[in-house]
Amino acid sequence: MAAYIIRRVFGALVLLLVVSAVTFAIFFLVPRLGGQTATQLATQYVGKDANPESIAAIKKNLGFDQPIYIQYWDYIKGLFVGADYKFGPDATHCSAPCFGYSFKSHVEVWPQLTQRIPVSFSLAVGAAVIWLIFGVTTGVISALRKGKPVDRISMFIALAGVSLPIFFTGQIINVLFIYQWPIWDSTDYVPFTQNPGEWAWHLFLPWVSLAFLFSATYARLTRAGMLETMSEDYIRTARAKGLRESTVVVKHGLRATLTPIVTIFGIDFGTLIGTAVLTETVFSLQGIGAYSIQAIRDNDLPIVMAVTLVAAFFIVFSNLVVDLVYAAIDPRVRYS
């Protein structure tokens, strides 16, 4: 098991390195190949008054006058050993993991990310709990009541959930519950450590919006899986042994259905932490997704790089966790 984990962690690190190289190439190399000069690149970060002296100073300070491979090497080096920057009277050390400084504001990227990761993580965790509970429960009930009104209604709602974009459902929820019937005063993020009750209350509407979308997928997946599993011979055997129906459904039916759901969940959850852009935008949450959109708009490459790496990390990490969870839910899975 330990060897398996070490192997997976090593593989994950290599993958992150590849992701960093590809991202770096897309944002740093491709524009150069497209004919963009270092001066033009620097001009974007000078502000409205782009005089030659300012452009030259920015070009030098951001390292654009260096060859691309040196810029990449410096970036990767910074991640592991930190880097020194001079955006003021004295040079300051950016400790590892140093994701560099924003090209726009010249503030360190990592503290900005750590400020935003809890927001995105909170959003994803709460939504995941809701969508797992509602999605799986709905799917099970639908499968057990196949063709009955409860199945049809559930699947209609599920279809709506999958079809309606979050900027529509989110906006409607926002308008109805904040402005029309102001049950919620706002959806401003309150840190969990500050007040867990307020944290959950303020995040409830974003959770519901996001969970509505995902519950639908999980309900349909669970329903399909359960329908297949419940028609297996071993379920008939379990019933023939005189087991209670709840035991048959939960222990024998649902457990087998969960394996593919957990796989999808791992990918969804990991992906969501860096990409809940629409939910964060609709509810004005200062998470990683909203941060990355601003960075892309500003062509703020260090932030784009950092967000990509962090998002990739969460995807890789959650997939690793999922693989380990397999062993717990599926007795046939053993790692050596």
């Binding site: 033009q40 974007q44 000078v46 409205k48 782009a50 300012s54 100073a57 030098k60 708009r297």
Partner: protein
């Protein structure tokens, strides 16, 4: 049939809910005698819901983030306005309604600048008793340092304008305070109360430069460059209680601010909160529901909110202010056939400006422009060199000019616009249609606004190579005088290898000289007249096609007090006056 009925029912419920929400948005805003009281456009020329009551919290929201809240690292108009709450400058604009708001008044200084006869030396004396929020006295050296860091350290603070660098003697040689701690010789501080600026050339608008947030004092010992924004030392009535980069800021009272040293600010609210990156629709809904005091960006409501407030119960709460900016189309004088003045004039006559303005959103978005200078800028003179009935264009006159330029059947050219500015693209399409009527075929090319000037239209070599004859452009004054507006867009020295704003590449010696002469003239009336004359010279040259004097459609929430539009800051509300009854 059954399915259709269910669908209809769901649609009806949704529509009713949304409609109700759209019309709702708050509790009886008209029953409240707050900032909503007053008539439509009341805050353009008066202070609405005037109050002298202390207390309350002003809540501001922004759908974006500014370049920086550091007074020495910003070019944003709303930060210039807002920063006056925590960063006092040598002089500033009078917090007052209407044209009075364009008056420059002393702030840290005890009077306006005392100019030498040649307008090359400017002296200011600071008031006594001025203190930073940590209790240390503010001296003229702190002001000098602030100017140095904001103008001469682009490697760290590159967002702000660099007019001081351009005008100070030796400004082209000084390496900045982070490399040369001795400081620039052309700013003298003979004592702690006096600061003297020695300029390389005459500059009669210097008091306007001194209104820039760059003259707000910064203690050298506390400056750590780009990080200073995270712990700004206040010289105004408020100081930072918290600041989260790109997310929020909170200001509370500065106990070391002495109202006796500050005749300008009332400092009524106890607290001022700002939230950034708020969903634009939420900002508007919060304004209508009276949850916030103002949209700090001050550029007006979103297009989808506009119909909701133009008529009905919200209409009396709206102010349609001039944004101090003109939207125009630049014709590059080095791209054929616009190297011929008659081809440029053909475009002037052919463009249907009214349809372009309608495409941008109509009257709430602005008025048809006939001059480059907008009406809210000192020096604006009303004229129309290319007057046509209803501003719809004159095909006959356009064709006559086409004949004179040797293109009787018209020609083909390129028109550029910013792809992420739908109103600009819509205006370009309307212009394209009106030009087609006289045989001028314009191919519209779109570029992202983030790279519009740095990579495309602001790069003369790119413009020439790709034959970008016509370029959509909008410009607001850096300070509200003709020079503040025109210098960066029509003077030959504003042509830059990249990132330039003189898109016409206008380098007319007469215009350059007229600008230089006027800015040397200490007679303010003569100077003001000159700006109008220069505007006429530019329009005679026909390389600028004015399209729209841009306007903001602002809304006054009911709880907002002391609400007035300041023309000095792009037609937004004056944040030094703004209070809240909440």
């Amino acid at each position: 049939m059954k399915t259709r009925r269910v669908t209809a029912a769901v649609a009806t419920v949704l529509a009713v809910s949304l409609g109700a929400a759209a019309c709702g948005g708050g509790k009886d805003s008209n029953d409240n005698n707050g900032g909503g009281a007053g008539k439509k456009d009341a805050a353009l020329n008066s202070i609405v819901n005037a109050s002298s009551k202390k207390g309350g919290t002003v809540n501001l929201e922004d759908s974006d983030v500014p370049d920086s809240l550091d007074p020495g690292n910003t070019y944003y108009g709303f930060v210039q306005n807002f920063s006056r709450l925590y960063a006092r400058t040598l002089v500033t604009f009078k917090p007052a309604a209407g044209k009075d708001g364009l008056t420059v008044v002393p702030d840290l200084a005890d009077s306006l600048g005392k100019a030498s006869k040649d307008a090359k030396t400017w002296t200011y004396h600071l008031r006594s008793g001025l203190k930073f929020d940590d209790g240390t006295p503010i001296t003229s050296k702190d002001v000098k340092y602030a100017v140095e860091r904001s103008n001469f350290a682009p490697e760290a603070l590159s967002n702000g304008p660099t007019y001081f660098k351009a005008y100070l003697k030796g400004g082209d040689k000084y390496k900045g305070p982070y490399k040369d701690k001795k400081g620039i010789d052309s700013i003298e501080t003979p004592d702690d109360q006096t600061i003297v600026f020695h300029l390389a050339k005459p500059f009669a608008d210097f008091d306007y430069l001194a209104t820039f947030s760059q003259t707000a004092p910064v203690p050298q010992a506390k400056d750590d460059g780009a990080k200073y924004v995270q712990h700004i030392v206040s010289s105004g009535p408020y100081k930072f209680a918290s600041y989260e980069e790109g997310a929020s800021a909170s200001l509370v009272r500065n106990p070391n601010w002495d109202p006796k040293t500050d005749p300008i600010r009332k400092a009524l609210p106890d607290k001022i909160n700002v939230k950034f990156k708020v969903n634009p629709v939420t900002v508007d809904n919060d304004l209508l529901a009276d949850k916030i005091t103002a949209d700090i960006a001050g550029a007006g409501v979103q297009p989808q909110t506009q119909p909701k407030i133009l008529n009905g119960k919200y209409a009396p709460q709206t102010d349609n202010s001039y944004a101090g900016a003109t939207g125009y189309m630049a014709l590059n004088v080095h791209v054929a056939p616009f190297d011929n003045v008659h081809c440029r004039k053909a475009v002037q006559w052919a463009v249907d400006k009214q349809s372009a303005v309608d495409a941008m959103g109509g009257a709430p978005k602005g008025d048809v422009a006939t001059t480059l200078l907008p009406p809210s800028v000192n020096g604006y003179t009303k004229f129309d060199n290319y007057a046509t009935p209803g501003h719809k264009g004159d095909a006959a006159k356009a064709k006559d000019e086409l004949k004179q330029c040797g293109k009787p059947n018209g020609f083909s050219t390129t028109l550029t616009a910013r792809s992420d500015r739908p109103a600009e693209v819509a205006a370009a399409t309307a212009i394209q249609n009106s030009l087609k009527a006289v045989g001028i075929n314009a191919d519209i090319k779109q570029f992202p606004s983030g790279k519009y000037f740095s990579n495309f239209v602001g790069v003369p070599s790119y413009v020439h190579q790709h034959k970008l004859g016509m370029m959509m452009m909008a410009w607001g004054a850096d300070w509200p005088t003709g020079y503040g507006f025109l210098d960066q867009i029509v003077d030959g020295s504003a042509i830059k290898p990249s990132g330039g704003n003189n898109l016409m590449e206008l380098n007319d010696p007469k215009i350059n000289k007229a600008l230089a002469d006027a800015i040397s003239n200490t007679d303010s009336a003569a100077r003001t007249k000159a700006w109008g004359d220069i505007d006429k010279m530019v329009l005679d040259n026909a390389s600028v096609v004015p399209i729209i004097y841009r306007k903001n459609l602002l809304i006054r929430p009911t709880s907002a007090t002391n609400v007035t539009v300041t023309q000095a800051y792009l037609g937004m509300y004056d944040y030094t006056l703004l209070g809240s009854s909440k």
